[in-house]
Amino acid sequence: METIDRGKVQEMLNQYQNQPVYIHVEITSGVYADHLNEDVFNAGTFLRNIQVEYIQGAIRGGKDGAYRVGLKLVNGGWIYVLGLTHYAINENDEFIMHGFDHDGKLASALEISSNEFFK
């Protein structure tokens, strides 16, 4: 993966606009978070192989290398992910954005693909 290139990511978001796409969205503290540090509250989510269509996708932020991406959906809904630092386009043409925390562990993810993700 490479650290986010804002221009390149925006270009990719534009490419998937106005067509049905599959997404993987994930935010996670990890299930060991409160085992390792009692002050932390475990929270997380993942949504996988959800089909949506967005009419506007944009990348914002960038302070200290962490970005936000928002997708405005055709039905008026939203997808919002905070804390993205890296991106890749893999051999299956899946557009992958990940956010790594200060320990180098995955904290957030937004992935977009024309085809379903591996089940």
């Binding site: 299930v31 060991y32 992958i96 790594f100 995955l106 993700f117």
Partner: protein, 222 residues
């Protein structure tokens, strides 16, 4: 360690076998006991994607599959079964499903001992779901046919609640190979391997913790 007919190891994630059990697995294999390792998921929702990251959420599946295959090879384990459930989802499978899968394996292999997690003391929901499924499968057997249960517990309250572990395996002689097993899971173990290799007090403590003894609790189902 007693001579066993067959040992069945059941864990949810590739690398669950590495930290507290691989020395024991190797000792069984080297003494001629057949060992089967059933790993329920590919650990494909793990937060560690390498240090620095070399995997993605999408490639982690294949990478961890290769890692656990390498781990098995180092241990000399020939019966590795990857069941392919999605990481983090085990507790949401229909009630009884995993227990029946484990029951089928027990019917096939007739193990005299099962190594898995201790219910209530294994921290991760997938660990707990695995422990519950193993217990349910064993409970459903006639008492005389039940395998012995040897369970891993590591919740903070373990010592207070369960007392000292009653199965302690000395893995002297297996230090290097166990380190290789942990290194096989390189997407997950980078920082730990660094600690183990460090010539510091912390490094010494890590070596004491991982490379000398493996500790378990036996579990009486009644």
């Amino acid at each position: 360690m007693e001579k066993e007919r067959h040992v069945l190891v059941v864990f949810p994630h590739p690398d669950d076998e590495a930290f507290g059990v691989s020395g024991t697995i190797m000792k069984y294999i080297d003494s001629g006991v057949p060992v089967t390792y059933a790993c329920l998921t590919y650990g494909d929702m793990g937060r560690s994607l390498g240090y620095p990251p070399f995997a993605t959420r999408e490639s982690l599946h294949d990478i961890r599959k290769q890692e656990v295959e390498k781990s098995a090879k180092i241990m000399g384990l020939t019966d590795l079964r990857l069941l392919g459930y999605r990481d983090k989802t085990l507790e949401f499978e229909p009630p009884g499903h995993l227990a029946s899968v484990i029951k089928d394996m027990m019917d096939e292999l007739n193990p005299s001992r099962i190594i898995s997690f201790y219910p209530g003391y294994s921290v991760h929901p997938d660990h707990e779901a695995t422990a519950e499924a193993v217990l349910k499968a064993v409970e459903d057997m006639p008492p005389s046919e039940r395998p012995a249960l040897q369970l891993v517990a590591f919740a903070k309250s373990t010592l207070d609640d369960l007392g000292d572990p009653d199965i302690i395996n000395d893995i002297t002689g297996y230090e290097d190979k166990k380190e290789q097993v942990m290194a096989a899971h390189i997407s997950q173990t980078g920082p730990l391997l660094k600690r183990l290799a460090a010539g510091t007090v912390e490094g010494q403590e890590a070596r004491e913790a991982y490379l000398k003894l493996e500790q378990f609790y036996s579990y009486d189902i009644d």
